[in-house]
């Protein structure tokens, strides 16, 4: 069997039986966004928008390079975006604009944080966080 045969027969996630390293038992607590991402997966599954098998297929479809370079939840959120584009639920342009909005909100918020006396914005509204609202 040549090396390329193996690539055809095994999708990137199909790793049962392959040689690998010793187990590293180190663990980490989830970042807040990772936990939100996990909750999002559960809610999408509940609403039958993206189920577990679709999620796994979406992660597989990222391909070996992305799978190798992105962390677990990074792969999930990119896979969700791709699946939602494919299902025409979201538009890539809308996501791009929304991400720019979210980032701008963050920078505004962080700038306001540096002035601890500021509790309201120019419109007199209380300063919120930029998007961790659930």
């Amino acid at each position: 069997m040549t090396q390329t045969d193996i690539l055809v027969l095994r999708l990137p996630n199909d790793i049962g039986g392959l040689p690998s390293d010793p187990i590293n038992r180190a663990d980490h607590d989830l970042e807040p966004w990772e936990k939100r991402c996990h909750a999002l997966a559960d809610v999408l599954d509940f609403h039958k928008i993206i189920n577990t098998e679709e999620k796994r297929r979406g992660v597989e479809a990222l391909g070996t390079e992305l799978i190798g370079n992105l962390t677990y939840y990074e792969r999930w959120i990119v896979a969700f975006a791709n699946i939602l584009f494919q299902k025409q639920i979201l538009d890539p342009g809308d996501l791009e604009h929304k991400m720019a909005d979210v980032e701008a909100r963050w920078f505004r918020y962080l700038a306001e944080q540096r002035d601890p006396h500021k509790t309201k914005d120019a419109a007199g509204q209380p300063l919120p966080g930029p998007g961790s609202a659930r």
């Binding site: 049962g16 187990i23 677990y72 909005d101």
Partner: protein, 219 residues
């Protein structure tokens, strides 16, 4: 985007600001998650309160739930029989609901059989009764090797299974999850159910370690 509209999304947020201070500016994927979530909420496909609620559910599921199930099975043979026949139904008897459509199969360790669970393709795990899986369960070394060299994998956890004991490795799926019912350790005949539950660890319910009398902390 109008200020008023953006505030409408954020007025009822309840995350502590300290969380933002510690982490500084968010990364690319953090921003992506927020953007995807907000777009889906705007399109009324999901609701913000559903995400909040699911985070609470995720936080509420820990190995203590699995430990309670194991301890009950150890003291109540009829419950154990029901657990081994209908894992999900027996959990629901103890008030442990499932928030998804997954099934649960409970695998009993005996003097002749030692069970180990894995998900070779991704990270399927009995989250309703154990909470979130550890990183090692989701990474390649365990997923690749557990199915063909379980004794070597177990040895890395300090667990030696005698050669006359059969090791069964169960590969979890999107629809069916597994939980190991570890052997009750010797010397616990006079333990209360609570004391028994306190011995049961997450890793024992995955099958990578046995229950010992020293194990007190539910991981």
């Amino acid at each position: 985007m109008a200020e008023a509209e953006h505030h409408k999304h954020n007025h009822d947020h309840d995350h502590p600001h300290a969380e933002i201070g510690e982490t500084g500016a968010p990364g690319y994927y953090d921003i992506m998650e927020t953007a995807v979530r907000e777009l889906l909420i705007e399109r009324k496909l999901i609701r913000a309160d559903e995400i909040r609620r699911q985070i609470e559910v995720i936080d509420s599921r820990t190995p203590a739930l699995g430990a309670k199930i194991v301890a009950r099975a150890w003291v109540d043979p009829a419950f154990k029989a029901r657990l081994l026949t209908d894992g999900r139904g027996a959990c629901e008897e103890l008030g442990i609901s499932f928030y998804d459509d997954t099934g649960l199969i409970v695998l009993e360790n005996t003097p002749d059989v030692h069970n180990l669970i894995v998900c070779t393709l991704c990270s399927c795990y009995p989250r309703p009764v154990l909470g979130l899986p550890p990183d090692w369960y989701k990474l390649k070394p365990y997923r690749a090797r557990a199915v063909y060299e379980p004794r070597a994998v177990l040895a890395e956890f300090g667990t030696i299974i005698p050669q006359n004991v059969e090791i069964r490795v169960s590969d979890s799926t999107a629809m069916v999850r597994y939980l190991v019912l570890p052997k009750r350790p010797e010397g616990t005949d006079d333990y209360s159910e609570e004391q028994l539950a306190a011995l049961v660890t997450r890793d024992a319910m995955i099958g990578v370690v046995p229950i010992t009398l020293e194990g007190g902390v539910v991981q």
